[in-house]
């Protein structure tokens, strides 16, 4: 059984078809890249999978269960976490609390435990703290845990978003342009990080990215979208030699220039 299976997904905004007949099957442990020109509907696919907007038609099957119609927080709790294209951290909270806030989803305690700081509360909080440290160490932010998230440099904010997503213990991680605005050095370190967390936490990763270096390097399979439709699919090699893709990106008659 595939981990995620998206069938015939469509989304209309007014008269505009933003996503049309989108199909995707992801097996456990895969890294799939979702690429395409700006406005192709990639982020809309993420929003549909995470339940932020309801699809016009189609189904999203995650571990054998249809997610369509569930509220976002329920979908998240089932094991789908995401990051955002335009970083959406909890800016005035500390780095540590950004991660801890999400850890509670699986490590909760009741209202009265919280109100009275019961022994159960203390035990859970210790677990949460230890886990949060572990995640911050993974993204190398452990020394900044007390700083407000807004004070981090841009690249660190992107990594904190990844740590926060990992706090959800996801099976599927959706990364929306994780390398946007990073310099080549940072991209290289991010590539390593994604590979590392994929192995460490046994993740399946779907990522949107414009930095072809990162996509070609990481992804086993790439899906290309344009005008809401899938126009090509295959290994990085296949995709980068596909004339339809080149046309979508560069216009007719463009020359291939691989990464």
């Amino acid at each position: 059984m595939p981990l995620l299976e998206v069938r015939d997904l469509c989304k209309d905004f007014g008269g505009l078809r933003a996503v049309s007949n989108f199909q995707l099957k992801m097996e456990q442990g895969e890294i799939v890249g979702l690429i395409g020109p700006n406005g192709a509907g990639k982020t809309t696919v993420f929003n549909l999978i995470t339940g932020l907007i309801p699809p016009t038609s189609g189904s999203i099957i995650f571990q054998g269960e249809n997610l369509v119609g569930l509220p976002p927080y329920r979908i998240a709790a089932k094991g789908i976490a995401r990051t955002f294209q335009n970083i959406r951290l909890f800016k005035d909270m500390s780095v540590l609390d950004n991660v801890r806030a999400i850890l509670h989803v699986h490590n909760g305690y009741g209202f009265w435990d919280a109100a009275l700081h019961s022994p159960r509360f203390a035990k859970k909080e210790e677990e949460i703290l230890a886990r949060a440290r572990e995640l911050l160490e993974v993204v190398n932010l452990e020394t900044r845990s007390r700083d407000p998230a807004r004070s981090l440099p841009y690249g660190d904010q992107r990594r904190l978003e990844i740590a926060r997503a990992l706090a959800l213990r996801p099976k599927l991680l959706l990364l929306d342009e994780p390398a946007a605005g990073m310099n080549p050095r940072e991209v290289a370190s991010l590539t390593e990080l994604i590979r590392f967390i994929k192995d460490k936490f046994q993740l399946t990763v779907l990522l949107i990215e414009h930095q072809m270096g990162l996509v070609m390097n990481l992804c086993e399979r790439i899906v290309v979208m344009d005008f809401g439709e899938i126009i090509a699919e295959g290994t990085p090699h296949e995709v980068s030699n596909n004339p339809v893709v080149l046309e979508a990106y560069l216009g007719k008659g463009a020359v291939v220039n691989r990464c």
């Binding site: 982020t43 993420f46 929003n47 932020l52 907007i53 955002f84 294209q85």
Partner: protein
């Protein structure tokens, strides 16, 4: 039937007065996203100036309207300069608290004995009320004056906002301060101008109000201000026709409740309707709150 018509016309009169106040709220909100709580008090000061002008200073009604509009425009600009502009880049709530402070200041300052004094004053309007019956519709000359003046001001405003350069600049600033500034628009001036315009309209509303409801006091601005703001929200805040539509609805609701149900409950019913409308249309009747962009 006669009675219903009379009430609807009374509601229209009230609604049009609310509309003048609501426009100031909605324009200021549209341009700096501030609920200007002091606006109701500008309306009150407008009413007082009008009253002084036609009672003691020998102005005609039109002179009184004009002088109230001018003085309140100056007051509006002053308020913006002193209490809101320094907070333009602070959290939005800070300006709101400042607005509350200005509102309280105006109310208490005007209550001082050497200003307007804390008591009710009964106004002798410069126009004698005459009842007419136009083809079965009972109407007074004051109602005609109010409706005509408000419609005239609305037309002027419509022209100003949609047909002139400064109106275009106002709309640009309400979309995006920074982009407007980059296009060479003097944002500070446009904001001050918006306050002047809104305050002048509220002042006109205040003077007209004294004709229809001839009793004034320093706290008279609170409830009409609140109702007018509610009307602006009802219609969709930031949208000029929305403010007028909301005010007309508010006027009808209030007069009809007072006439047919109970006058004590009219405030409650008005706000109940607001809450229900917001639940169905969270950004007001004419508002277009698109989904948040991810």
């Amino acid at each position: 039937m006669e009675r219903l018509l009379e009430q609807i016309i009374n509601g229209l009169q009230l609604g049009f007065v609310y509309a003048l106040i609501a426009l100031g709220y909605t324009m200021v909100y549209g341009i700096i996203k501030l609920i200007n709580f002091a606006h109701g008090d500008v309306f009150m000061i407008g009413a007082f100036i009008g009253y002084f002008a036609y009672t003691f200073w020998g102005f005609s009604l039109w002179g009184a309207v004009l002088i109230a509009m001018i003085l309140c425009a100056v007051l509006g600009v002053l308020i913006e300069r002193i209490a809101y502009r320094p907070l333009r880049y602070a959290p939005r709530i800070a300006a709101l608290i400042s607005a509350l402070g200005v509102s309280l200041f105006l109310e208490y300052f005007c209550s001082l004995k050497f200003v307007f004094g804390p008591n009710f004053r009964v106004v002798q309007p410069p126009v004698k009320q005459i009842h007419w019956n136009l083809g079965g519709i009972p109407i007074t000359n004051i109602q005609i004056i109010i409706v005509a003046v408000v419609i005239l001001l609305l037309l002027v405003l419509q022209y100003l906002v949609y047909r002139t350069k400064i109106g275009t600049a106002m709309r640009a600033v309400s979309f995006d301060h920074d982009a407007a500034r980059l296009m060479g628009i003097n944002v500070d001036f446009i904001i001050a101008f918006t306050f002047a315009l809104g305050s002048a309209l509220a002042a006109a509303g205040g003077v007209l109000y004294t004709l229809a409801y001839p009793q004034i006091h320093p706290f008279m601005g609170i409830m009409p201000g609140l109702k007018a703001f509610t009307a602006a929200v009802l219609g969709g805040i930031g949208i000029i026709p929305g403010a007028v539509l909301g005010s007309l609805i508010m006027g009808q609701v209030e007069t009809l409740t007072a006439a047919y149900l109970t006058s004590q409950m009219r405030d409650a019913i008005a706000f109940l309707i607001l809450i229900i409308v917001l639940l169905v249309r969270p950004s007001g009747i004419l508002g277009r709150g698109g989904p948040e962009k991810v």
